[in-house]
């Protein structure tokens, strides 16, 4: 298997700033086609493609669109569309690749989704540190406005028009969670909301809101242009399509690689140039800080939502952090726990206190002897389970993922 490109099909081939080059590469064919279809048929195509949210949770993009569409009638009230570009999961840099190389594709995806659900106003929420992405997206938005595809001048039979704006994050990992992102968009602190209700019913300003990750939107033009069946030819039955994997760590060519879902870790590492200095793999952390450790025994596992779940793991954002045999696992674990401690917002006490406790325990473990280490790891696991069970948002439920997968797969590597 090699690379198969859908979201990155134009990356490096056209100038990111050029609307003309984007159009010449087939850009806007999909949206033109969507405009001739009934909105419900657009939703149906996305649903039938089996596209799953690429932000990490893997929820069906079709269902999300359907729920937002159904929560109020097309002409009865305001609906919003939001692109989640607050990429902050450690080890993940795939959304940046789309925004920096093909910003027009992302916006075309948003146009298609907005047409499908009847949204007239949208936001692209980009993390404040992504200077280049912000500039490229702004340039692309300006192009769409100038060409008349965004804003009032755009005229169709259905009087569809969409306004899109950039909003910036300011260094909060939690704002990558959709309801917290909405709080932040409303000008507030990034505290998570209780769900349900989900954004599809009560989103921005309590209106129905469709929130998708950058990569999810970037798949929609392909699906509309070529049909759901063509999309399903890629990937696995339950995880169709392609995925951008952000490969980092001890490989020769770290970077973003878009392949079909279901590629094996072994092949992916080969695509990334193989192991640096030929030192063998000790472990791979799949999916970011809120991701799962796998050992060198799992190199042939297929990277898709289901097979990762089978070994008690997650695919997450597609971050692939590769560690070679010389690396100290406890140093790495301590950095991850430090991350959760820093990013816990403090709203739920079990998470606020518990993540600090885990960070401390991850430091303590470095000075223990082998017998004590095992007991200490068990203690960390039960602490993390307690946090997960008693916190509101996904952050509290995250530390248990690396810790339990560490205990499950890496005990013999200590």
């Amino acid at each position: 298997m090699t690379e198969t490109k859908i979201a990155l099909k134009n990356a490096g081939k056209i100038a990111a700033e050029s609307f003309t080059q984007y159009e010449r590469a087939g850009g806007l064919n999909a949206f033109r086609k969507a405009l001739k279809m009934e909105p419900l048929d657009v939703l149906k195509a996305i649903n039938e493609s089996g596209l799953r949210g690429r932000g990490g949770a893997g929820f069906s993009a079709g269902l999300k669109g359907k729920f937002t569409d159904e929560s109020t009638c097309r002409y009865c009230g305001q609906k919003y569309i939001i692109c989640n570009a607050d990429e902050g999961e450690p080890g993940t840099f795939k959304d940046r690749a789309i925004m920096e190389n093909d910003p027009h594709l992302l916006i075309e995806g948003m146009l298609i989704a907005a047409w499908a659900i009847g949204a007239t106003k949208g936001f692209i929420y980009i993390r404040g540190e992504y200077t280049e992405s912000i500039q490229k997206i702004q340039r692309a938005l300006d192009n769409y406005y100038t060409e008349g595809w965004l804003g009032k001048s755009f005229d169709t039979d259905d009087d569809f028009n969409l306004d899109l704006e950039i909003r910036l994050g300011a260094g909060s990992y939690l704002c990558g969670e959709e309801l917290t992102l909405i709080e932040s968009l409303e000008g507030k602190r990034g505290y998570p909301r209780i769900k349900p209700p989900f954004p599809a019913q009560h989103g921005l300003w309590k209106k129905p809101t469709l929130v998708h990750n950058v990569e999810t939107f970037a798949h929609m033009p392909f699906i509309l242009e070529n049909g759901a069946d063509a999309y399903r030819k890629f990937g696995t039955g339950n995880s169709p399509g392609t995925k951008i994997f952000s490969v980092s760590g001890d490989v020769n060519r770290p970077g973003n690689y878009e392949t079909e879902m279901g590629i094996s870790l072994r092949v992916l590492i080969e695509i990334a140039g193989g192991m640096k200095d030929d030192i063998p793999v000790k472990t791979v952390l799949v999916g970011g800080a809120a991701g799962s450790f796998v050992s060198d025994k799992h190199l042939d596992i297929s990277l898709c939502y289901d097979s990762m779940k089978k070994i008690g793991g997650v695919l997450g954002s597609g971050a692939i952090m590769v560690l070679n045999e010389t690396r100290n696992l406890f140093d790495f674990m301590a950095d991850i726990m430090e991350f959760f401690k820093h990013e816990s917002c403090g709203k739920c006490i079990p998470c606020r206190v518990g993540t600090a406790q885990l960070a401390l325990m991850a430091q303590e473990i470095k000075i223990l002897d082998k017998v004590a280490i095992n007991a200490h790891l068990e203690k960390m696991q039960s602490e993390a389970e307690y946090i997960a069970a008693n916190s509101l948002c996904p952050l509290g439920a995250s530390p248990i993922i690396p810790i339990s997968s560490f205990n499950q797969h890496l005990k013999d590597k200590i």
Binding site: L168, G169, G171, S172, G190, G249, M321, D335
Partner: protein, 153 residues
Amino acid sequence: MQIQDILKKHEASIDNLLMILHDVQNHSAQSYISESDIAAIAKYLNTTKAAIYGVVEYYSMFSSKPRGKYVIRVCKSPVCRMLGGQDILNSIQSTLNIPTNGTDAEKRFTLEVSECLGHCDKPPVMMINEDLHVNLTPEKIDSILNHYRQNKP
């Protein structure tokens, strides 16, 4: 630029708050949002100072305390740390003779650490204000900092 001139660029709607805060801080010679800025923003958006202050303190990119003209943010994600991030941090600390979160005597640099900056393919990385610096080595630090000392007074 005066605070009122900055405010005028943005519609007086609370959902613009983060954009306003970025704008105000970027125009501040000391990279921060002062108490009088907070009061002016609260008045402009017709809300309380406490609401603004809460937002400033929550987000790690904002500061309500004066900092250097250049804010250095060294990435401390697991990947950057594994591939030399700590050496970079140490090197900046000793070059500027300041601890993490400290500001140098000339009030030119403040050193901070940041969670993952999203450039794990080119570790270790840091940002200085809006500029990104990748594939760092301790040897490169002096010349990078000198660039900010000389070219951008």
